[in-house]
């Protein structure tokens, strides 16, 4: 379980997260939505302790990511939106390093790597330098690295970006399986159709504030909108902006 209690984070004069209190339950897939710069990535990084809140508290499985950083990072699997990987290592070398960092027994690690390599179709790339692989393959490696140590809380920032449809489908099923096993799964995306299809619960943030939370059905009834895109536009107040943009496009 992941909980944010009245969390505030500023970057200079810009408020990235503005007093958000929200709880992401275990056993569910949570989609974190919001326009660019709304604070999604900052919230995700806070769960790992790599971004410190200015005030408020974040709790991961009851632990504070700042004071219990090492313990928290053992239970969290995080794949950032930006590709941050050692490009001059091979995939095998990267996993050798991760195995030792997480203290996973050799046999278990090998079994796990075989499983992930098959699922994400990385078997042919195991001995290649990561820098030589395509953007989509690097994304798969990031996601596989996040899953490698079997985390209790899985946080994926834009995981579907650059994935081919087949692996994208596998990832969706993987997230479902993970949630069914009692883990917490949170992902962000700008593709609202994916969020609608995959997530049990949707959280929408805008300008650092929480503007909506609930299942798609709940939000649909509450906001009186037909689909997630309409819900999103209504709760963020971007509906009129969008209308103006579309009028400009079609010359109304």
């Amino acid at each position: 379980m992941l909980e944010y209690r009245n969390v505030v984070k500023r970057y200079g004069g810009v408020v990235a997260v503005d007093g958000i209190s929200v709880k992401f339950d275990a056993g569910r897939i949570n989609a974190l939505l919001g326009p660019n710069g709304s604070g999604k990535s900052t919230m995700m990084k806070m769960a790992l302790g790599v971004v410190r809140p200015d005030s408020g508290e974040v709790l991961v499985d009851g632990m504070n990511p700042i004071s219990d950083a090492l313990k928290v990072r053992r239970v969290v699997g995080y794949a950032p939106e930006e590709i941050i990987l050692y490009e001059s290592l091979t995939l095998t070398e990267l996993f050798s390093f991760l195995r030792e960092v997480y203290g996973i027994p050799r046999e278990e690690a090998e079994q796990r790597i075989r499983f992930l390599a098959k699922l994400f179709k990385m078997e042919e790339n195991m001995n290649k330098l990561i820098g030589e692989l395509s953007h989509g393959n690097k994304r798969k490696i990031l996601v596989a690295s996040a899953l490698f140590h079997n985390p209790k809380v899985l946080i994926l920032d834009e995981p579907f970006s650059g994935l081919d449809p087949e692996v994208g489908r596998v990832l969706k099923e993987m997230m479902r399986k993970y949630a069914n096993e009692g883990n917490t799964v949170i992902f962000s995306t700008h593709v609202l159709e994916i969020a609608e299809a995959v997530a049990d619960e949707v959280t929408i943030v805008y300008k650092g504030k929480l503007v909506a939370k609930g299942s798609t059905d709940e939000l649909r009834n509450k906001v009186r909108a037909a689909d997630l895109e309409s819900i999103f536009m209504k709760v963020t107040g971007l509906e009129s902006d969008l209308k103006e943009l579309l009028d400009t496009l079609w010359g109304a």
Partner: protein, 507 residues
Amino acid sequence: MVNWFRISEILAKEAQYRAGRRTGSMRRLSFGTGSLLKSNLVTVAFFSMFSTTFGFMVTSSPALGLGFAGLMELFFGIITTAPALQNMVSDKLLDPLTYLPLNEREIRKSLLYIVLYWGGIGLLFIVLPAAVAGALLTHNLYLILWGSLEAVSLLLLSVGIGYIAGSVSPKLSGRPLSRILSTLAWLAVMSFGFVFMAVNNFSFSHSPQSSLKTSKDLLEAIPPFSFGSASAGSPLSVTSSLAFLLFSMLLFKTGADRFWRALSAEMLIVKPGSDVKLQWKLWSGPLPSPVFKDLKLLIRNSRMLASTIYVFFIPLFAASPFFFGSVHKLYSLILILMPWMGTAVGSAVGNLYLTEGSDSRFLYLLPITKGSIVRSKALALAVLAIPISLMYFLLMMDVPLIGAKVALAFLLSSIGFLFLDSYLIMMRLPREMASWSRQTLGQGWTLIMLLVDMVVAGVMTAVSLIPLFIRWSLGISLPLRSGDLLLVELLVFSAVVVFLTNNREPI
């Protein structure tokens, strides 16, 4: 229609901006309105002053005077162009342009202009003033002609080598043989200073008169020394110099073509390998995986690997006079040098942090302590220090105990300073991943590291001299000699540093 001057301006500004971000300096961009000469004004002035001194040497020996000036031009040419061009390839600076409807010829011209802008014209002024000064002093105007030809040849050669090094290095990491060649090439560039020593020895240090004459004759046929002799009309020197000019032109053309291919977006797309190895095995060697990872990252970066090897061997060269003859009996003196050699080795740990660069943000996502980062980097280089310490032992093996003491002192000193410097750099890493920038590993830490290292080495040396001082001033011989005291100091120092740098905080 965008002209090549405009493309040069855009590329040069971008390259300068990125270089500025790397070093932390954001100098004002002056490019764009001035001529080539204006862009090179500072280097022209500096090199002209420097070059005039070679002019005096020309009066006694045109071959040596213009030859040494030529070697300097070659050296500066390679060290300025190769890294700059390599950065252009690794940063894929040309990629955005390749998607635009731009003429290839214009882009290629722009690339040449950039090299000249980064000091290419200035390079000519390492040789030209020397030739002019020599010509005026000796009344031999042919020196100006041959000096000019030499300056142009060496500019073409150095830029050609720069093009090749720049285009090859970033793509090498997958192929071991190419990597070895690239590392050797970088080592050759870094060790260029030794060429001067070798030429100097070759031309002056042969005692029998006959051999001196033979050596000088041979030297006058070898470019760039041949250009000076060609001014006196020596047919061999003239032929050799013209052949060198032709070779430089060809190398420049080959290098420019190769660089263009590397820079073109199409070449940067990695084609699928034909032999896919499906077998893989997790690392199971004697080294912990984090140390192995740091070593791998270093090995796959030819430039950093060469720089590290170079730094490791400098102390060995510095101590080399003590290994021969009866001087090795002064083993206390060799031991006293060891803390200073350790500072050189320790500073090399910075290369590991630089090699990891912005990828070190990955560490923030993992349950890793600061101490483990310090340890893995220091141990990765300590592994390389072991064979060097064995070399010390072998070089002083005629008295095995002394050899063992020197080898041990080198190893302890290296370990101590590697851990200390690794800790000092690690402390510079920001608390938050998002705060990591190119400036994180800017030049500030080098200065701090250097100062701390010098103070520590100075204190150790001073303490070790106490027995020597007491014997000299009071005539009392202490049971512990200076060298042995230093060995004890190094043991305590390395143990204390290893213990104290074991920071258990998460990164």
